[in-house]
């Protein structure tokens, strides 16, 4: 035990003991004051006590209390004090005016005891009694703190959200529910709120996080409201865990990012609130530069005037649609260059109201491609014209010399100039055959060129198929007989009318029948005309059947290709242009029909021309 307590009591007092001169300057500051308020004796002595530890709104009270103390010598009261770190404490304060011998004030002695905890319990009791049932029924987590920032009430939703039991949280600074990095700043905000308490959202525009007991953070939305009680102002915070909404938001943003087009979401005022990276890339602005800007910044100057009005009418009647249908639209880059775009708009209903989502597609490439295609088409048309002219003049140039060859061979063979001996006659016939072959080659090539260029001059008229077959038969009968073949036709009794091109039909039948005669050495060639009805559609089938060598199945497909003659070992040198079947098939197709082949080696072939009856 010390023998001199005078100094010892000052040093050991559990309460903060502060001596303040009449002008409010700290003269003495005991170790308890240091431990409670955080200022060392050196920091405190010589400075104004109110500046040090009295929060702004308490200064006036403090002046009044000093006046009371002067009058009554001793006053005891509860008041809020501020620590060096900004935290508020609830103190029980006794202030005594110490007088000099002449009765004037020497100094004020204040003894201050930290009753923050007691105050919390008092507040908690009051709030529990008054609001508990009400607060349990709200869906949000509710945390109520008193002026010192201590938690005085949590509802069970708050227990669940933060993972604490009520007892763990009571009387704790509310910062226990915040991630460490936000705590220091929060203290300041909290004091600020008490200075001007009104209902509002916390940290508008900021991302807020809560901290669970297990150390996990989660995004929150918090609204604050002051609660006036006889124990002073409390603050009620309603906390909503927005993890799910954030996830949904993130999903939405991801979706936006994954869109191939540039996407910009605009609010009612035309301000951009969401921009994907495609849009950033397309327009050359950074996301930060664009956020909150009016969408018109992306529109060339000359179109800006009408844009807000158009935007307004979209909001008036929102529905997904293409922008400016039929108009040429342009986007404007940061560097001032323009590019053609296609834009589709859709309304976007959100909790925050109606937005417009616009998908913007740069169609520069497509426009360029379309132009290239148009140029190419013109080029092709020109090429087709050149080709047509080429074929016309080729035909003309080849026919002119052939005229003399075929003509004079003919006059010689007609013996107009005089008699021929047998050998002269034979050789002239070889020349004539060759010349005629050349002519049919020219004719077939010309026909193919016409079909290829869709220039085939089809004259559709109602004709009698029987008549055409009879004409062809009459023309080819002598050749069949010369080879010793039986030539027969099987025609129905009635007239078979068909609307088609007579010349083309006749050419196909001549080609097919001519081939049949050419390739058949023994037996017969048989022409049959049939009318069939399949699925309500009438078909006219002209079958040309022979007893020739037949065509192996593997050769049948390429039989119709140009210049593809299937070599039969028995008939190595057969005449023909190699275009007859190819041309016949093309002609059949031009008439809306087809040629069907049925053949087997050794058993002959049947080519059937099938034409639809119209």
């Amino acid at each position: 035990m010390p023998t001199d307590y005078t100094n010892e009591l000052w040093e050991q007092s559990p309460d903060a003991l502060v001596a303040v001169s009449a002008d409010g300057i700290v003269r003495h500051w005991n170790p308890a004051a240091t431990s409670i308020f955080g200022y060392t004796r050196e920091e405190a002595v010589g400075r104004s006590m109110t500046t040090l530890i009295v929060p702004g709104d308490g200064v006036k009270d403090e002046t009044r209390i000093c006046a009371d103390a002067l009058r009554d010598r001793l006053v005891t009261y509860e008041s809020v004090r501020r620590r060096k770190d900004g935290a508020l404490l609830h103190m029980s304060v006794s202030t005594k005016a110490v007088l000099m011998a002449d009765g004037t004030l020497d100094y004020f002695l204040t003894s201050q005891k930290d009753v923050t905890h007691l105050k919390v319990l008092r507040d908690a009791k009051l709030i529990e009694a008054r609001f508990r049932d009400l607060l349990e029924s709200t869906p949000d987590a509710i945390v109520i703190v008193n002026v010192t920032g201590r938690i005085v009430l949590v509802n069970s939703q708050a227990e669940k959200v933060f993972g604490y039991l009520r007892g763990d949280l009571l009387a704790q600074p509310v910062e226990i529910l915040l991630p460490n990095r936000f705590r220091a700043a929060h203290l300041g905000h909290r004091v600020g709120f008490f200075a001007q308490p009104r209902t509002r959202t916390m940290g508008a525009g900021l991302e807020l996080f809560g901290l669970r007991k297990d150390g996990r953070e989660f995004p929150v939305e918090i609204s604050l409201s002051p609660l006036e009680t006889e124990e002073g102002t409390l603050v009620m915070s309603a906390i909503r865990d927005i993890t799910d909404r954030k996830k949904a938001d993130q999903k939405f943003k991801d979706l936006l990012e994954s869109a191939p087009d540039a996407m910009v979401i605009v609010n009612h005022d035309g301000e951009m609130v969401l921009i994907n990276s495609q849009a950033v890339k397309l327009f050359g602005w950074s996301r930060e530069e664009l956020m909150g800007q009016r969408i018109e910044i992306l529109v060339p100057e000359r179109y800006r005037g009408n844009h807000p009005a158009n935007r307004g009418s979209f909001f008036a009647q929102p529905r997904a649609r293409a922008m400016g249908a039929g108009l040429e639209l342009y986007g404007l880059r940061k560097d001032g260059t323009e590019f053609p775009v296609e834009i589709s708009l859709s309304p976007l209903e959100t909790e925050e109201g109606l937005f417009v989502s616009s998908a913007i597609r740069d169609v520069t490439e497509r426009k360029r491609f379309e132009q290239a295609l148009r140029d190419k088409n013109i080029e092709l048309e020109n090429a087709a014209l050149v080709k047509d002219r080429f074929f016309a003049s080729m035909s003309h140039e080849l026919r002119t010399p052939l005229n003399a060859i075929i003509g004079f061979t003919g006059t010689l063979l007609m013996k107009l100039p005089g008699p021929l001996n047998t050998e002269q006659d034979r050789q002239l016939r070889v020349v004539q055959t060759g010349a005629k072959h050349l002519l049919s080659l020219i004719n077939d090539l010309l026909d193919l060129a016409k079909i290829g260029a869709n220039k085939l001059d089809l004259r559709l008229e109602s004709i009698d198929c029987k008549e055409v077959i009879e004409e062809v038969s009459a023309a080819l009968l002598p050749e069949a007989h010369r080879k010793g073949l039986t030539f027969s036709t099987d025609l129905p009794k009635q007239v078979v009318r068909l609307r088609t091109d007579r010349r083309a039909l006749s050419q196909i039948i001549i080609n097919l029948t001519g081939n049949a005669i050419k390739f058949t050495q023994h037996g017969c060639v048989h022409l049959r005309l049939q009318q069939t009805l399949t699925a309500g559609h009438g078909t006219i089938a002209i079958g040309i059947q022979d007893t020739g060598p037949g065509i192996p199945i593997q050769d049948q497909a390429r039989l119709f290709e140009a210049f593809s003659r299937v070599e039969a070992a028995s008939q190595p040198q057969l005449e023909g242009t190699g275009l007859g079947l190819h041309l016949s098939r093309k002609l059949a197709e031009a008439l809306g029909g087809r040629i069907v082949l049925s053949s087997e080696p050794g058993k002959g072939s049947t080519f059937t021309l099938e034409l639809p009856e119209t």
Binding site: A392, R399, N403, G407, T411, A435, L439
Partner: protein, 131 residues
């Protein structure tokens, strides 16, 4: 009396062939190589029928027929186009231009004279036929 036929044809071999066929058949034939001479010969010799190529230098067959048809004396004289033009529409174009017939080269020597005679009145057919 057999008809006098004027041949306007720039290709010498073709001109020769047609002239030979017609003369052999007993007709009088005049042959020239271009449209301008053709028109002059027509006015000077008053032929009964004209055979005319379509594509010729200086004055083509279409102009020849247009000039002939423009003259009242020549309005009814048969004018036959013999041409290597055989593309779609060539025939229709020739008939529309005033030709009476459009024959395609190469001509068929066996039937050519007959095709021409179809446009001559019986009184002008050659009496002596070599066939």
């Amino acid at each position: 009396m057999a008809a006098l036929i004027l041949i306007i044809e720039d290709d010498a071999a073709s001109r020769d062939l047609v002239k030979y066929l017609l003369e052999t058949a007993g007709y009088g034939a005049l042959a020239v190589a271009d449209g301008g001479n053709g028109l002059r010969m027509a006015l000077e010799n008053d032929p009964d029928l004209v055979i005319c190529d379509l594509q010729m230098p200086v004055m083509d067959g279409y102009e020849v027929v247009a000039r002939l048809r423009g003259n009242p004396t020549w309005r009814r004289v048969p004018v036959i186009a013999v041409t290597a033009f055989s593309m779609a529409g060539d025939r229709g174009k020739a008939l529309a231009a005033g030709f009476n017939e459009h024959l395609t080269k190469p001509i068929t020597p066996e039937t050519f004279v007959g095709q021409i005679e179809a446009f001559l009145p019986a009184s002008l057919l050659a009496t002596q036929r070599v066939r």
